[in-house]
C-alpha cells in the first residue's frame, strides 16, 4: 500500500529557503567540485548552508571537503553534522569506504529514505550534489522536491555538451527552473559553450579555468 515516507518529505524542507541541485549530464565535469565550493563559499558569507551528496555510487564531496570523523545525531530523525559551517549529509556515513553496488530502484529507495528522515535545520541554501545522468536521482529530485532549481555544469568538450543539451531539454520541458550553466575546465580563451546550448534560454554563469 501507500509509502508513508512520501508524505513527510516536503515537511523536511519546510525551513530551507532555496534548494539547488548541481547537475549536468556527464561525469567528471566538476559537479562535485562546484557543489562543494559553492557550499563552502555560501557558508563563509554567513549563509546557513547545507550540502547533500546524492551520488550514492561515487560520493565525492566528503573527499573534496576532507570530511572525517563526524556522524549525524539522532533527534526525531537524523540531524546532519556540521563541517566548516556546512550541514553535511552523505550516504558515506553508512557505507564507509565500501563499494555500494546499488541498482537504480534501490538508489531511489535510499534517496526517499534519506529525504524522509533527515531533519535540516533552518537553512538559506541547500546544495545537492547530483550523480551523472538523468536516471533515478534526477527524476526523484524533480518528483519529490517540488521547489528544486538546477545549476548545470559543463566543460568545453563536445561530448559533455551533447549530454547536457539532452538534460536541459528535459528540464525545460518539465518547467524546472535552471539557474544557469557554468563552464568548467576551460583551456582556451573565450567561452566554448556552444551557442546552441545558450540559445535554449538559460543564463550563462561564467567559466572556470582548468
Amino acid at each position: 500500500m501507500m509509502d508513508p515516507r512520501l508524505n513527510v518529505i516536503n515537511k523536511r524542507f519546510q525551513n530551507v529557503k532555496k534548494i539547488i541541485a548541481v547537475s549536468g549530464g556527464k561525469g567528471g565535469i566538476g559537479k562535485s567540485q562546484t557543489a562543494a565550493s559553492l557550499a563552502l563559499c555560501l557558508a563563509k558569507h554567513n549563509y546557513r548552508t547545507g550540502l547533500l551528496d546524492l551520488d550514492f555510487c561515487g560520493p565525492s564531496t566528503h573527499v573534496i571537503l576532507g570530511v572525517e570523523g563526524i556522524y549525524p545525531e539522532e533527534e526525531k530523525g537524523i540531524v546532519p553534522p556540521k563541517f566548516n559551517g556546512i550541514s553535511f549529509m552523505s550516504i558515506t556515513y553508512y557505507t564507509g569506504n565500501n563499494p555500494s553496488p546499488l541498482r537504480g530502484s534501490e538508489i531511489s529507495n535510499a534517496i526517499i529514505e534519506i529525504l524522509a528522515i533527515t531533519r535540516w535545520e533552518d537553512l538559506d541554501f541547500l546544495i545537492i550534489d547530483m550523480p551523472p545522468g538523468t536516471g533515478d536521482p534526477v527524476l526523484d529530485v524533480i518528483r519529490l522536491i517540488k521547489r528544486v532549481e538546477f545549476l548545470l555544469v559543463t566543460t568545453p568538450s563536445r561530448v559533455a555538451q551533447e549530454v547536457l543539451k539532452r538534460e536541459l531539454k528535459v528540464l525545460n520541458e518539465l518547467g524546472i527552473t535552471v539557474i544557469g550553466i557554468l563552464e568548467n575546465m576551460k583551456t582556451k580563451k573565450g567561452s566554448q559553450v556552444a551557442s546552441e546550448l545558450l540559445n535554449l534560454g538559460v543564463p550563462f554563469l561564467g567559466s572556470i579555468d582548468f
Partner: protein, 137 residues
Amino acid sequence: MHEWALAEAVVETVLKEAGKENLKEIVRVKVMVGELQQIELDVFNFAMENILQQGGGALSMEKISLEVDKCVLRCKVCGEDWYYSDSLQDLSEEDSEAIHFVPEVAHVYVRCPRCGSPDFEITSGRGVWIDYIEGEK
C-alpha cells in the same frame, strides 16, 4: 530515536488517507514494519503515541496494530532465497545500524550465501508501511 521520523510519516499518512476517504471514524490500522530495518518497536510506539497526543484527530494508539514482516532476500544472479536474519548473525553492530538507517545499505554489507553476490532483491520485509485502514464513513 530516528524512528520518530518514520512514525511521523505513518501518522500523517493514515490521517491523510482517512481524510481522502471521508472516514468519520478510524476503526483499525495495520502498520507493517519490515524486519530489515530492525526498528525498535517500543521506540516506534512511543513516538507514535507522542505524535498522536499533539493532535491525532480520529486516530489513537489502541486502533493501531503493528506487525513485523520477515525479511527475505533473493539473489539476482543465482536465484537463491534466504532470510536476512541468517545474514544478520555475521554483521557487526555498526553495519546493522547502518542498515537500520538506510536499508539499501544492506547491499554493502550482505552477500548471497550461495554465490557471494551483492546483487539481490529485498523481496519482503523492507521499510515501514500501512497495510490497511479500516474505518466508518
